[in-house]
Amino acid sequence: MPKDSGIGASSKRREDVRFLTGAGNYTDDINIHGQAYVHFLRSDVAHGRIVSLDTSAAAAMPGVVRIFTGADFEGVGGLPCGWQVTDRHGQPMAEPGHPVLAQGKVRHVGDPIAAVVAESPEQARDAAEAIEAEIEELPAVIDMKAALAEGAAKVHDDLPSNLCYDWGFVEENKGAVDAAFAEAAHVTTLELVNNRLVANPMEPRVAIGDYARATGESTLYTTSQNPHVIRLLMGAFVLGIPEHKLRVVAPDVGGGFGSKIFHYAEEAFCTFAAKALARPVKWTSSRSEAFMSDAHGRDHVSKIELALDADNNFTALRTETYANMGAYLSTFAPSVPTWLHGTLMAGNYKTPLIYVNVKAVFTNTVPVDAYRGAGRPEATYQLERVIDKAARELGVDPIALRRQNFVTEFPYQTPVAVVYDTGDYNATMDKLEEIADIAGFAARRAESEARGKLRGLGVNCYIEACGIAPSNLVGQLGARAGLYDAATVRVNATGSISVMVGAHSHGQGHETAFPQVVAEMLGIDESMIEIVHGDSSKIPFGMGTYGSRSLAVCGSAMVRATEKIINKAKKIAAHLMEASEADIELKDGQFSVAGTDKSVAWGDVTLAAYVPHNYPLEDIEPGLEETAFYDPSNFTYPAGAYACEVEVDPETGKVTVERFSAADDFGNIVNPMIVSGQVHGGLGQGIGQALLENCAYDPETGQLLSASYMDYAMPRADDVPFYAVDHSCATPCTHNPLGVKGCGEAGAIGSPPSVVNAVIDALQSGGKAVTHIDMPMSPSRVWSAMQG
């Protein structure tokens, strides 16, 4: 029987009541007395030299408080990059400056040139239109391969070229990999594009800077997934504000999908301007601004080659990827195509030799950084597409080819640095075959064909590295921060509990799931526990939420802190019952003495801690509050198998997803309903990438062609089917106390290849010699491919 509370229960999301009734407190809901509003004048050209910038007429417009330009930020730091990648030759990546407001040049459509602060948003916008900016347009660098060609215009004049880095992994293996290819019985090659995406959280970004003259303290309210990271980056590297004088608050945040990890110019601007003007300054992004200023995702152009022996065993894998960085290095951009991508190229398979080459390229486009999955979807897509193509070339069943090459013994040291702790890929594939009713596919195909439609089945596996991450490891790989997390468990006098966590919830349901863990450990009701997050002045120094890390890393810190609470509470209970601490047992919120009928309730102990009249003051301090920091020893490795069934209209090329099934191994599960919801959302984004979403630039002018929802196709409810999801195949993670692996990104990582595999299967069943179609597989693209 399913549990109704604690770990494993599908407790309803308590935060949804306020979200669904309009009672949430989002950053834009915050209005501070006396606040002014900023409007950013943004570049409407992709690449240009600022010849002159005349703000005099604009400054005289009604309501204008002050106009800032790049000149006002000359003594201020630029936006920092949080990860340094070292190239194939041991050299650090090219790291250009990233000014808060453009200095000298504009480098993408949307690059902020000037900021007008005024009494109202409309006045700020009116005045921004009155700024006279003379910009000499330069050739736009858009295509990555053209950007690296001899004589290409340079995005950054002070760099030798548009190459950020040329990374090889594992460089020492390159010769052996090439040799394996020379000896291969069969080689399958595939060139593909992982399309650029816009994250599109429902809530656009907002920032409010506030400065207290009395205390000299700056506060930034912002739409962030990680307030402490923003405090560190902005305080230490941009504005030079010490931590104790800087507070960063990220209240309710309406989705992030990675795009709200990064430190953005608008945050630094509002904090800076609030101090300069001694009044609060607020910015609310329009949706149009979001398209041209939120970091984009993906945008890889890859060639992948798979070598097989005569028995169809994978013997080597070789990839070459061009990864778009955009015009500047966003906070974690360099890590995405390298350490979050190359390390996952083994997938679920025991391929012994792997070499990954990645060339990161600057272009006159919006910076690209982590987006749900970050590097792992790009790895999975290449690998699972090339395996499918190999199976077709060899005339073998794609599931059988995968099973034959599965890693089956754990722990498994991959040839790309990481060690998988646990997994059972045959079990998830068995489960997939069951829930997807793969045996019934032939009948469904016949039924579709009778209606004049082509039906295809596509399958793929995935593995991801989550629970990011061991600090000592990521430090060796170039991270400029640790990636532990932290939690403080504050037990109040009457027994209720506030848990202050470094993780941030912006849709993940932490406020529901985290209390389930503490409630389970203490045997008390979930409703007695509240999660506090998102305010650097209230929470310990944790690193926030991304990389499916919240429960695995921050949740583990919370477990450790709760264990400390239990240990201390047992001491108090022992004193109250005049028993030995070793004999104290905690069950269902009662402390009892083993072998006796003596017991005291949770509330008696907590009250004693704060009213220590009868208390072992000589042995322990009063109060009941503990903090723990947790740094994992490894990533976690969620894995699974997905199946997609599509119908293709052969006359129009229109693809409809008829069935989608996901069998995931997330280790232990705290709240199955929330996990299913996370998978559903991820699948929607993955299907969106495969069929609909496409952030496109004009290759000549660098204008953003998909700059609104008129042209950027988001998946809607009727674009996706009812999903069959299962997470009963659980091999618990061996190196965190909860045995959890993380589930936030799996759906987005695991779904695009099976959609493409299914479309190719459908087209080939209709006699079309189509082996690949780039995403998004729009009706026009599919129809064009069918024309041969």
């Binding site: 239109e129 129009t652 729009s778 009706p779 129809w783 064009s784």
Partner: protein, 260 residues
């Protein structure tokens, strides 16, 4: 948006008078104009809302069997009130945008705007409708003059649209995946005098009659494999010229099949 004056007259005569002032702009349901204003792409000095004019609203069957629809009638109202009289037209109206759009947008606004991907122009042209304004009647064949261009004069208001009701008709809309406007939409209507085929979404010149297919049908020929010239079709992120030409043929055949 920029500041503007706002008037909401109660009659066509008052609206016509209000639109005579400098840089005045008529506002129908606002489904195109309001977003345009919000993006500061238009700066009319005065908006004259047509939303308060009762005489411009409603659907009625005329004595000659034709159907008149007031220019200020919303898509939702057409979908409801025209269903019994002209099901294909009602179905088209019921498939425009989403419920919010359908409850604000009007037939007069759509036809005055003449978006090359809008649905209504194909119904008006495909039905050989008459556009009735405050000053004259314009045959649909003369009304549509290219992208966002019509025969309307400055300040002229579409007070109603008169549709001859066909023996049978069908509208096939292939959705542009992002906007869900028509990537291509084909309206086919069969009258005693012959079959009219109007295509929206496809051409760089806006809605057009596919005369070659009409003639083929008139001569009793089948349309199998037939498609208009790709030259002159719209090419964008969502479809090539060749694709739009191909879709025109497919959707026309599907409309005919649905009518049969």
């Amino acid at each position: 948006m920029y500041n503007f004056e706002f008037e909401r007259p109660g009659s066509v005569a008052e609206a016509v008078a209000a639109l005579k002032s400098e840089e005045a702009q008529a506002l129908g349901g606002g489904q195109t104009l309001i977003p345009t204003l919000k993006q500061r792409l238009a700066a009319p000095a005065k908006l004259v809302s047509l939303g308060g004019i009762a005489e411009m609203k409603g659907v009625c069957l005329n004595d000659d069997g034709s159907l008149s629809i007031g220019g200020g009638t919303t898509h939702a109202e057409v979908a409801r009130a025209a269903a019994a009289h002209y099901p294909a037209l009602a179905a088209l109206a019921g498939g425009i945008g989403d419920p919010a759009v359908r409850n604000r947008g009007t037939i007069g606004g759509s036809l005055a705007n003449n978006d090359p991907s809008a649905c209504y122009p194909s119904a008006a042209l495909g039905s050989g409708a008459t556009i009735v304004t405050d000053r004259r009647e314009i045959a649909a064949d003369d009304y549509f003059q290219g992208l966002f261009t019509t025969a309307l004069d400055e300040g002229e208001i579409i007070t109603s649209v008169r549709f001859p009701v066909p023996e049978k008709a069908n509208y096939q809309k292939f959705l542009q995946p992002a906007s869900r406007f028509a990537l291509v939409g084909v309206f086919v209507a069969h009258y005693a005098g012959g079959t009219r085929i109007a295509v929206t979404g496809a051409s760089e010149d806006g809605v057009f009659r596919w005369s070659a297919a009409e003639e083929a049908l008139a001569s009793g020929a089948a349309l199998d494999g037939m498609a208009p010239e790709a030259d002159g079709m719209i090419a964008d992120l969502h479809g090539t010229k060749a694709y739009r030409a191909h879709l025109t043929g497919v959707l026309t055949r599907r409309a005919l099949q649905a009518m049969a």
